[in-house]
Amino acid sequence: MTLRAAFQGRAGDFAYDIELEASEELLVLYGHSGAGKTITLRSIAGLARPEAGQIEIGGRTVFDSSSGVDEPPQRRRAGYVVQDVALFPHLNVERNVLIGIEESGDARARWSQLRDALHLDGLDGRRPHELSGGQQQRVALARALVRPTEVLLLDEPFSALDDALRADLRAELTRLQRDFGVPIVFVTHDLREAHLLADSVAVIDGGRILQLAPRDEVFRRPGTRRVAELTGVRNLFAATASGDRVEVDGLELRLPANGARGVIDLGIRSERCILRRFDPDEPPPENCFVGQLVEELAFGNTHTLRFEPDGVGPRIEVEVAARPYEVLGVAERDRWVIELPPEDLLVMPRK
């Protein structure tokens, strides 16, 4: 079962042009608010109508502007879960789940399977306001899956839950996916949540998908400077590349061979930078430069340190875990050698 969508449209002043594909996996649609995430889900579900394009769910064309196909939401077999209006407040759990179902043995069997899978035993008669946040989301998931569903669309469903609950639900989502074999499109603006849940990530910005790739690829090899920015890369510089060398603010760095030439965007995650003790008698080794510590933010388990270059090199932000911070004695010194390992440098072409 797959989801394929390529469509364009407008919602008021906002124009969007979306291209998505998801197989039986959890695709996180990640972007800031206003990026076009919700309109994308609504278009797939049939609640919003793009001006042009095609949408295919489980091999069925549900929208095709060229042939005039536009299936109503009732027939798209898309389960849609929204965080803050997850359940109908006036119906109990069982009636919430079975509301769209003609009483049939199939649905009953599926419901009891879901009730077990999602730990919802004994809650049938409860009203939504009598459930915890996690239970409400589980009921909403069950409701979306109890009818034949070929894609599950989740619009920030866990944003009100804490990390531990999210991890539990992630495990349950994975299990559901194995059992039901549906693609899941999961919308979030929370980078941690995206990282935690995703098989693949689609980065959306200004109504367009900037990059869609397996999670680690998106985080390790952002396709553009904007994707790097959105996925939390704090150090981004304009640089000039030639073969395996690159020059940033007078500092020459070695790159893994990739054949980039000319002006590029260079980036490195702050947690990938390495801090070394400064020794005035020893010149900095390869891919290193000397920096002056100018600002420090303590987050408890990590410290964020900001450096000004002492001579050549860029301004840089380095994240150090609490333990190395103490072992190195960062607090006692303010001149440090910063190493930018070649395998952690992100090279992005300039358009």
Binding site: G46, Y80, F88, H90, G100, R127
Partner: protein, 264 residues
């Protein structure tokens, strides 16, 4: 000893007294000077009461049947005309009822714009029971539509979207999701509409006249009694009956509008 920061309670208490005292005064006046018993025995009073309840209820039914779709349409449309219409809905609320009655006559009266076509079709509206209902509908229905519009506007449209994706048709979604969610607003509007229709006087007098058994509702009976030699005492006696009856029905309606199954 009340706490010092609770002085404001004086205001609601005063306000409550302001509403309560005149009603008590009315009741007292009816007991001392009036003759409620003889009015209760008068067929004119019962005819008027029966007609009032009948027409106000018909008005409410029409307001619900016609007003609910209108309010829903206005609330779900983002177009400028919808917002303009929603504003125009308030207009009958500020029109003096007498003006509303004249306005109705200019359209449905014998010399009104629709008077000739209607009479050719053999339909006379003015000075009939139907005219009473039309007058009440014109004056009172906006209360219902207004409340329903506010209810539909306040409801998160995503509930309906989710219902559609669950396979519910538009009509079933409206019935099993939308309606229960806006029920309190609709019920509140219905009570207002019914109460306003029950108290309608000016528009009814002008458009429907005042004929016992046919168009003389309770307020018109009260007005007629007031202008008669029975005077104040007679008017107050009938008024007390109307107030008592309306109170009874309002209590019942409030019961209905907050069913025990209501969600929080």
């Amino acid at each position: 000893m009340p706490r010092r920061d609770q002085w404001w309670v004086v205001l609601p208490v005063l306000f409550g007294v302001f509403f309560l005292l005149p009603l008590i005064g009315l009741g007292w006046f009816a007991i001392t000077d009036g003759d409620v018993a003889s009015e209760l025995g008068s067929s004119t009073t019962w005819d008027a009461l029966r007609l009032s309840v009948l027409t106000a209820t018909l008005t409410l039914v029409l307001a619900i049947v016609l007003g609910t779709p209108l309010a829903y349409l206005l609330a779900s449309s983002e177009a400028g005309w919808a917002r303009l219409t929603a504003t125009l809905l308030d207009l009958p609320l500020v029109l003096p009822p007498v003006v509303s009655g004249i306005a109705l006559l200019t359209v449905f009266g014998r010399r009104g714009y629709l008077g000739d076509p209607l009479s050719e079709a053999g339909i006379t509206l003015s000075f009939t029971t139907a005219a009473v209902v039309l007058a009440q509908l014109f004056v009172a229905a906006p209360y219902y539509v207004r409340a329903a519009y506010a209810g539909f506007t306040a409801m998160d449209p995503r509930f309906e979207g989710v219902a559609y994706t669950l396979g519910l048709s538009r009509w079933r979604t409206f019935r099993s999701v939308t309606l229960p969610l806006v029920w309190p607003a609709l019920a509140g509007g219905a009570v207002l509409c019914w109460a306003r229709a029950l108290g309608e006087l000016g528009a009814t007098l002008l458009f429907a006249g005042s004929l016992p058994g046919r168009t003389q509702t309770m307020p018109l009976a009260i007005l007629s009694a007031f202008e008669s030699s029975a005077g104040l005492a007679g008017a107050v006696s009938i008024a007390v009956i109307l107030v008592a009856f309306a109170l009874l029905l309002l209590v019942l309606l409030h019961r209905l509008s907050t069913p025990s199954g209501a969600y929080r």
